[in-house]
């Protein structure tokens, strides 16, 4: 980024402000320690035995790095099928929402049609209603469609998002109209203009929306809890919550489960940091 190109060479001259940065680092490192200690403690616990964990005072480092906790976790929990459910519903939800929201956002931003403003107002109203207000009706619909305990049930409400529509509308509003006109002069129809010209230009916002949607989908607990009553096709958060009930005091196994289920998204985050930050920042642009 830009700041890395600005070398600190002018440091001494600027005196007051740019002066010593070490006190800042000290404060930040203290804060980081608080942020990271729970994860470190989790990691250390994973390799301990149950006896080590329940000792008072607790042992800091495991005596020998036992992998027993992972064995217990993978032998009692159908991790891969839960992972497939989590990943499958995420892909479905992200892909679906992006297409639906981009189409609608483009229409709201670029195509005048009767009732556009009223309809957009409706989207905005729904944006402000907390999600719990929809759960009873959404559950009823999923049940009536006989979709309980299925993968589509997890993804369907998330395909449609007032927030996504709003975000995409903002993206298309800021684009210059010249490209559209040029494409239309070449004989492209509205869909072609959208698909080949405008959508590619919206790529950064699409990526941000995809990442945010993926984050919500992966982390969500309440909705999967409601639509997976029998326990089939459970995503990771529901399965992990079940583990807590099953292995109440086997902390190494619990910590191993928490670690294994969290790792996939953490890796995705480390790869796509920029998109995550852009997504969060853009959701913070306008309320």
């Amino acid at each position: 980024m830009a700041e890395s190109t600005v070398r600190r060479t002018s440091g001494p001259r600027r005196g007051g402000r740019a002066g010593a940065t070490w006190p800042i680092h000290v404060l930040l490192v203290v804060a980081v320690v608080f942020m990271v200690v729970p994860f470190v403690w989790q990691l250390l616990t994973v390799f301990k035995t149950t006896a080590e964990v329940t000792r008072v005072p607790p042992t800091i480092l495991p005596a020998d790095f036992s992998l027993h906790s992972f064995e217990t976790f993978f032998s009692t929990v159908p991790f891969w099928s839960m992972f497939a459910v989590s990943a499958g519903s995420l892909v479905l939800r992200v892909a679906g929402q992006i297409v639906v929201a981009a189409l609608a956002g483009y229409a709201f931003a670029r195509i005048p049609f009767p009732g556009s403003r009223v309809l957009f107002g409706l989207f905005i109203v729904m944006l402000m209603v907390p999600s719990q207000l929809f759960l009873i009706g959404q559950f009823q619909l999923i049940r009536d469609l006989q979709l309980l305990d299925t993968l589509p049930a997890l993804a369907i409400p998330g395909l449609f998002s007032a927030f996504g529509t709003f975000l995409m509308r903002q993206a298309f509003l800021t684009m210059p109209g010249d490209y559209e006109e040029a494409a239309r002069l070449d004989g492209a129809n509205t869909f072609q203009v959208f698909w080949y010209v405008m959508l590619p230009m919206a790529r950064p916002m699409l990526a941000a929306l995809a990442v945010l949607t993926g984050l919500y989908s992966w982390n969500d607990l309440l909705w999967p809890l409601i639509v997976s009553p029998s326990g089939e096709n459970r995503p990771l958060p529901v399965g992990l919550a079940g583990l807590q009930g099953q292995f109440g005091t086997d902390y190494p196994t619990l910590m191993a489960g928490a670690l294994v289920c969290s790792i996939p998204l953490v890796i995705v985050f480390l790869v796509l940091q920029r998109q995550f930050f852009a997504g969060i920042a853009s959701s913070g642009l306008k309320g």
Binding site: M1, E3, R8, R14, G16, R17, T21, I24, H25, L27, A31, V32, M35, V36, P38, F39, W41, Q42, V53, T54, V56, P58, V100, L103, A107, R110, P112, F113, S116, L122, F123, P130, Q132, L133, F134, L135, I136, G137, Q140, L141, R184, L185, T190, F191, N219, L221, L225, P237, L240, A241, G245, L254, G257, A258, L259, S262, V266, F269, I280, G284
Partner: protein, 309 residues
């Protein structure tokens, strides 16, 4: 808006070459999927929740209209008031995380190299499963062999059952909530900080202002719109807290669970465990009103502290 004036100039060219503006039909076609989804999965469910809040809805069989009975029951329901209190307390604790986030965001902004690493580290809890976070903190808070009590023992402080003892539960959740939300707040505030002109800092340091003065006289006022936004988001999210409670109080002794429910937890329990959807719907409507009032109140209060330059 203002750019209307520039538009008409172009039109004649388009008409001459036969380029048509997209017709309204295209608009309707583009909007159709989103609108069908919105109506089926948001507008209709919302209306049905509203309707059910005036009905007695048995798990099986037809619903009957009962007027305001669900709401009057709610007002007399000690469980509801306890949940309301817990949600309010949790939200107030979460608000304490905002000054912390402002200070940290300002500190990170001052760092040249290494800024990216700090951001990533503060963001880690955001991308970790909330259920996993609940499990880890529950272990840390454990009264017998948790890390927190061990650390406190170094300072001669007596350990407590932070989760199982209802006197502490909400506070313990609040700390985790602040910890979890910090990453998001830092990103939003960081974007706000970028927009503050650097010249202001340079000018004021020529005048001899130190970092602390600059923080209170430049950073905080100019960042106040972002701070306001973060506050709004945090309050809305805090009032909807569910995951932490669900995971941290699983199988804990019953007094902690009955005393520490939040509004959304109570809603979940009534609507989807006991399947009393009429009563659950009434709780959801009250949640909506609480969030609306809290948000309106903040918009009122912002006039006295948010600075739009």
């Amino acid at each position: 808006m203002t750019n209307v004036a520039t538009k008409p100039v172009r039109r004649p060219v388009g008409r001459r070459t036969g380029v048509s503006k997209p017709s309204g039909w295209w608009g309707l076609a583009f909007i159709a999927p989103a609108t069908i989804g919105l109506v089926a999965l948001y507008v209709w469910p919302f209306l049905s929740t509203l309707l059910k809040s005036f009905q007695d809805v048995p798990a099986f069989g037809p619903a009957t209209f009962v007027g305001l009975e669900n709401y009057t029951t709610l007002i007399g329901d000690g469980d509801f008031w306890k949940a309301f209190q817990n949600s309010a307390l949790y939200t107030l604790i979460i608000l304490l995380g905002i000054p912390l986030a402002v200070v940290l965001a300002a500190l990170i902004e001052q760092v040249g190299r290494g800024r990216a690493i700090y951001r990533v580290l503060f963001f880690l809890p955001v991308v970790t499963l909330p259920v996993a976070i609940g499990m880890v903190w529950r272990f840390i808070y454990n009264g017998d062999f948790g890390l927190l009590n061990y650390v406190l023992s170094w300072f001669g402080i007596d350990g407590q059952f932070w989760v199982a003892d209802p006197r502490f539960t909400i506070y313990a959740f609040g700390v985790v909530g602040i910890w979890m939300g910090l990453g998001i707040n830092l990103i939003i505030l960081g974007a706000g900080l970028q927009a503050i002109p650097k010249a202001l800092y340079e000018a004021s340091s020529l005048d001899g202002a130190g970092r602390v003065r600059q923080f209170f006289h430049i950073t905080v006022p100019l960042l106040s719109p972002s701070i306001f936004f973060v506050t709004i988001l945090s309050v809305i999210a805090a009032l909807q807290m569910f995951d932490l409670l669900f995971i941290m109080l699983r199988g804990v002794n019953n007094t902690a669970l009955t005393d520490s429910k939040t509004i959304v937890y109570l809603f979940y329990e009534k609507a989807f465990v006991q399947f009393d959807q009429g009563y659950g719907a009434a709780i959801a409507i009250v949640l909506l009103m609480v969030i609306m009032i809290a948000t309106a109140l903040q918009f009122r209060l912002q006039r006295s502290w948010v600075f739009y330059g």
